[in-house]
Symmetry: C2
Subunit: 465 residues, 2 copies
């Protein structure tokens, strides 16, 4: 786009970008529209979201539950909250799983006739057992679904089961595409073992075609044999599928050295702005502090964590003095256990409080579109009345939907849940992989998420649900 | 965000991401909603936008008017359109300016007392004259506005005028922030010369703080002396401002070797799908094929160009057979002259056609939010009736506003204009700089723009305005 060299064009630009006034707003709405504008100005001018995220990702890096990184992160954000003088800053201990990747993970395709071994980019799935030290070498069956596998009968016995159903690119919301494919990752090892397979190799959960494998949690079932499970990059999956079309007896050699160690004590971290009228009523705003061990968890979910802290920053900068308590909670262990989310509900002292609402940001630090509401229709209708305020932030999409994994144990108890809804197109390009780094986060988009969350917290605090 | 390991969570995710049905849609609307869904599926599954953009940016690169790159681009997109068998593929010649950057552009801050020279990252503004070969060395006055400069009186005489007003970060729409700062770039040289200054140094038009200068067009006035003009990176601007606070007699040495050569013949490139009922009624969908010589113009405006081609691809793939002609126009010379936009209106044969509507994408290949309408209220109201279809694409923001520079000469003649509205947060991080490269474009976001434009073209074609 041109620089407005011609003065008339410049004038046109300025004229046309002027925002239309929102009509018919009452007095109370006008007040909150003012707050929306003030939050926008404060956040966009001096917001700290990105500098906090830089600090978290550069001084700590990845933060898998039980890892030294996770322990450092707990201490770092505690200090961030203390330094800013928020109320009631403390840790709430939770025991978390401690899975480690180990030094070796590799896969090589071995043609049955001629041709050189071809390396495939893989990584162990979180929770997987290791292969024997020498690795596993076996033929491969490719399937697109568990039904495919069931129909195969005995043909999968002794083989590596290759789950190669892509995320559906025709879904506009990439979380829908993810939901439609992630069973392969979560339950692939169990299904492979039930079919007599010796390992599961799963196409990475991403819509991008690149050579970066994406990890994520997988599970075993007590009654079913445990077999190792790994993700292969989407380019690796395409390569393997092509090789298999040409060579049905191709083998793959996989080596993984991951293992699960005893549980470790870790913690949820929290701090708050105490309510001025009803301090016992708590509005939780949170994200999860743990990440996978690939990349540095900049989007997943460093973004949600720094946004929760920034909500407190913004509300204090504007001297809003909310009626209810607004509490930032950095949950531990969302990725592979949700011990933090469950631990929050049962922590000592929780029963003396009233959890009034819970908000989570865990869909990446992208430009917000609005929020999902996981509550009854009375609450939903109430939030719809605030749409004009969110429209001012271009985040007026309010729809019923899932709120977040960390707050789900809270929401299950009847507390209204809210999930920050963001532009989803890029998320799975980065998610759970070495691509999830700070440079993928735009500072303004990240800050906008905090601004929208701050407005939602304040509206809930002042107007009630 | 977690993988839905726990089956109940998976079910929840799937349940909650199900889209609510759009209520109350009439029959005709239902038909177009179906088209919207089909366009989405076709584009997201097999869309060509990104591969076309890769081809344009990798085989051609930058495409400044009059450059060999621009000539190659004209030929490449002509072939792209021919190869796909679209109707009436041809070039329409236009004469364009031919400004070249030359081999040298540098700036060094020279402390008046002690200290080493400090290099500043600069680039010539498009249209600037060169400095003398030996460069210009002068003291610097920093201003935030033309008013500042006017108040300075004689103090600017013989100095380099440093325009350092940042884009306003508190504007949510970054184009507003751009409009509020770009006078410094477009008219800074004239204002500097009027104040007796010897050169203009302008803070880059970006909200990012980095060391990459952003070029863009500037102008001279016939009655005013011509002085060289360059952009300095935002980090360079911050450094220079700091140095000036410490050392009022600091000098800067600037060397530029740019110059303007005689005009060159170039062309607009076009191809179309001929209308089945009213072929003489033309719906233009376009972008501009020229770019600045920094980066490869991936967002500005390679995106708009490939989207225009993709609109034709999608409409043909769906075998929609539009009533009116849909014409992709790749305009030449938007950046520094708009000769293509103006030439389109006056080209031979144009008077035999009826230009029915014009659509432009020139705000980067980001996720679409909707579109702006530059037309009378009857047309605007008509397009509002289509909102349910665009809501399905999460691009339902329809607002009156500027459409686009290339189509402005057409719109000025009373033709309804439409501008693809996209998420604006990242655009100026890349705009007119070495940052504007293919890796900054997300394939899905880019394709979504084409899908939204295709739907708009089709609705206009079938329903009329």
């Amino acid at each position: 786009m041109i620089g407005a060299r011609v003065p008339c064009l410049l004038a046109l630009l300025m004229f046309f970008f002027a925002r239309p006034a929102t009509g018919g707003a009452g007095e109370s709405s006008f007040k909150y529209q003012q707050v929306a504008r003030q939050l926008l100005a404060a956040g966009m001018k001096d917001g700290e979201s990105f500098s906090l995220l830089r600090e978290l990702t550069s001084t700590v890096g990845s933060r898998l539950s039980g890892s030294p990184g996770a322990a450092k992160a707990v201490e770092l954000v505690r200090r961030m909250l203390m330094k800013r003088g928020f109320d009631n800053v403390h840790l709430e201990p939770v025991m978390v799983p401690h899975w480690v990747r180990g030094p070796v993970e590799s896969a090589v395709a071995l043609p049955s006739r001629k041709g050189k071994p071809i390396s495939l980019a893989i990584c162990a799935l979180g929770g997987s057992i290791a292969t024997p030290n020498a690795g596993i070498t076996a033929e491969v069956v490719e399937v697109k679904s568990f039904d495919d596998l069931h129909r195969m009968g005995e043909r999968a016995r002794g083989k590596i089961v290759f789950f190669n159903r892509p995320m559906d690119p025709t879904k506009l919301n990439t979380f829908e595409a993810y939901s439609g494919a992630v069973d392969q990752r979560s339950a692939g090892a169990v299904e492979a073992a039930l079919a007599g397979g010796v390992a599961a190799l799963v196409r990475s959960m991403t819509l991008a075609l690149d050579n970066v494998p994406h990890t994520g949690v997988m599970g075993y079932r007590d009654s079913v044999a445990r077999v190792p499970a790994a993700a292969v990059s989407t380019m690796g999956a395409e390569t393997l599928a092509r090789l298999l079309r040409e060579d049905r007896h191709l083998k793959v050699h996989i080596t993984l050295s991951c293992r699960t160690l005893p549980d470790v004590q870790s913690a949820n971290v929290m701090g708050e702005i105490r309510g001025s009228a009803s301090p016992e009523e708590i509005i939780v705003v949170g994200g999860h502090l743990d990440s996978w061990d690939k990349g540095v968890g900049a989007h997943d979910d460093g973004s949600g964590c720094v946004q929760a802290i920034e909500v407190l920053n913004l509300i204090r900068k504007l001297n809003l003095r909310p009626k209810r308590t607004i509490r930032a909670v950095l949950f531990m262990n969302e990725e592979n256990g949700n011990r933090g989310g469950r631990g929050y509900v049962t922590a000592p002292g929780r029963s003396a409080e009233k959890q009034y609402a819970a908000i989570e940001s865990d869909r990446g630090g992208f430009d917000p579109r609005g929020f999902s509401v996981q509550a009854d229709s009375t609450v939903f209708t109430r939030t719809l009345a605030w749409q004009d305020c969110f429209d001012l932030l271009e985040a007026g999409k309010i729809a019923r939907g899932f709120s977040g994994v960390d707050i789900f144990p809270t929401v299950e108890k009847g507390v209204p849940g809210f999930g920050l809804d963001v532009d989803s197109q890029r998320y799975f390009d980065y998610h759970h992989s070495n691509n999830d780094t700070l440079d993928k986060v735009n500072p303004r988009e990240l800050e906008m998420g905090a601004i929208v969350e701050a407005l939602l917290c304040y509206l809930i605090s002042e107007e009630g649900l």
